[in-house]
Each structure stands twice: as C-alpha cells, then as structure tokens.
C-alpha cells in the first residue's frame, strides 16, 4: 500500500541525483574551460553529440538516395556554390582550416576524413539542410527533401579528394570578398603598377 509514495519518492530522489550530477558536470566544464571555444570538445562531449546527432536524423532521410546524377556540370556548379556559401568556414578544400573554422566549437571538421565520409548521402543532405544545433553549422535549406542544390553539395563533399590546384584557384576567386578586401586588392594592383599607396591594413 505504501508502494506508490515510495516509488514517487525514489523517482524524485533519482531526478535530484541526476540534476546534481549534471549540475556538477556543468560547473566543472564551465570552470575548466570558461565556456571558451578555444578548447576541443571532451571525448564525452564528442561521443554524446555524435550519437544525439545520428539519432536526430530520421531513418527515412538517412537512407535517401541522391536524386542528382554526378556530371561535370554538377561538379562545376557545386564547386562554385561551395566557394560562395561554405568555404568561409570549411575552406575550399573542405579541411576546415580557416580562421573561422579553426576557432569554432567544435572546430569545422576535415570533411575528407571518415567522420564525414562515413555518413550516408542522406545524412550529409540533412546536415546541410537543417544545420547542427549548438555548432557553427547553420541550416541552409528549408528542411525539405528535394533541394537539388543541396544534393549537388553532397556530391561536392564526396569528391573533395579530386579537387585540382586549378579548381581550387578558381574557387578562391569565387570566395566572398568584403569591401575592405576589394579596396586592398585595388591598392595592390596600383602598387604593382608603380604607384605609391599606403601600407595594407591588417586586423
């Protein structure tokens, strides 16, 4: 007859215990790293976040096949799209070795490696479309299943290892350029032409 209240007390105690442990872990994390983005995720954070993310992708989306055939035109289009929208963080070569990518938490991954390449096409599509919560990866699409531009980017990720120096150079020319950079490039050209210009300003 006292089973109900006893179970309820145990449940409350369990919840309190979990909250205390979670609070302690959070306190330790904040004190250890100050919520800095400079550190690497702990092994526990990596395992938990990867598992959570994997579970968050519906199985119907995970195994969705790429409806876009890989052609030279798709390859060229996806390179231009990636250079304009993605390379600021991921780098044109997908290594993530950019000022933003290096300093995100977690850092932008080297997408040539297994952690990315082992994902299914559907998972890559889902990530590009929906982003990854609590990371620097925004949702680029509407979340629907048939954004062909996103499927083309999946092809790009799959073919990162095939980028040639010429293609990388063309992508660099397609990267976003700020007004300040355009100004600096003009001044570079004037300097090379023999004019006297002020020294370049660096942040």
């Amino acid at each position: 007859m006292s089973g109900g209240p006893r179970i309820a007390r145990m449940a409350v105690a369990a919840v309190i215990a979990v909250l205390v442990v979670a609070g302690g872990a959070a306190y330790w994390l904040v004190n250890a790293n100050g919520f800095s983005a400079r550190t690497l995720p702990t092994p526990v954070e990596r395992v938990v976040m990867r598992a959570l993310h994997r579970w968050s992708v519906p199985s119907s989306a995970r195994f969705a096949p790429n409806p876009v055939a890989f052609t030279p035109e798709v390859w060229a289009e996806s390179r231009a799209h990636f250079a304009d929208h993605c390379a600021s963080c991921h780098g044109n070569d997908g290594r993530g070795d950019t000022p933003i990518g290096r300093n995100l938490f977690p850092k932008a991954p080297d997408m040539r490696l297994a952690a990315t390449q082992d994902k299914t096409d559907g998972e890559l599509y889902w990530i590009i479309e929906n982003g990854i919560r609590l990371t620097g990866m925004p949702a680029w699409g509407t979340g629907g299943p048939d954004d062909l531009d996103t499927w083309k980017l999946v092809h790009f990720v799959r073919h990162l290892g095939e980028l040639t120096p010429e293609q990388l150079k063309a992508m660099a020319a397609a990267n976003p350029t700020s007004p300040a950079e355009l100004q600096e490039e003009k001044e570079d050209e004037r300097f090379l032409a023999g004019e006297d210009v002020a020294p370049p300003h660096h942040h």
């Binding site: 600021s88 963080c89 780098g91 070795d97 950019t98 000022p99 933003i100 620097g136 925004p138 949702a139 660099a172 990267n175 976003p176 350029t177 700020s178 007004p179 300040a180 950079e181 600096e184 570079d188 300097f191 090379l192 032409a193 023999g194 006297d196 210009v197 002020a198 020294p199 370049p200 660096h202 942040h203």
Partner: protein, 99 residues
C-alpha cells in the same frame, strides 16, 4: 528561430568578408634579396621583411602563372602570407621600382 538564423547568417556573412582570403596578409614591398629559399622585401616604412619560399609558393605576373626566375631584385611585389606566418603562398610581381 528565424531571427536567430538571420543573426547567425549575418555574422557569418560579415565574418566571411573579413576572412575572404582565409586570413592571409598581403605584404607589399620592393625585392631587395632573393634566393630559392627566401625573398626579402623593403616595405613602405623602410623596414625589411624576409619570407620563406617553398615548392608550394605560386608566382604570378600580370595575373598569369610565372616562375621564380621572373622575380628580380628591385621588382615591386605583393606577397600573400598566412596570418602570423612567414611562408610566401603567392608572389605577385609588378613593375620594377623607380629607384
């Protein structure tokens, strides 16, 4: 949620502009010394800077691929260098200095 995404997109757009060349610095100067391993340039403030050259260093003359042999002491150059680095990634060659 849309507001949050807009803010993130705005931050990324601004950041993208700031780092469009992935953090490279441009070193403008006149070549004062050159070898297969390094190039030394005199900057506008009359100080000199020496940057290392490797097989990965690209050379451009008037926007077209060139060779290290095309670079001469006295040439004006703009050199792309990684932020806080000293290895020349790209040397753009311009006119010979007036001096």
């Amino acid at each position: 949620m849309k507001q949050l995404l807009s803010v993130i997109a705005l931050v990324l757009a601004i950041s993208a502009g700031a780092f469009a060349h992935e953090g490279n610095e441009h070193v403008r100067g006149v070549v004062t010394a050159l070898s297969a391993q390094s190039v030394t340039v005199e900057l506008a403030n009359k100080t000199t800077k020496t940057l290392s050259i490797s097989a990965k260093t690209a050379i451009e003359n008037a926007g077209k691929p060139a060779h290290l042999a095309d670079v001469k002491v006295g040439d004006r150059v703009v050199i792309d260098v990684p932020e806080h680095g000293s290895n020349a990634l790209l040397i753009k060659v311009g006119a010979a200095s007036k001096k």
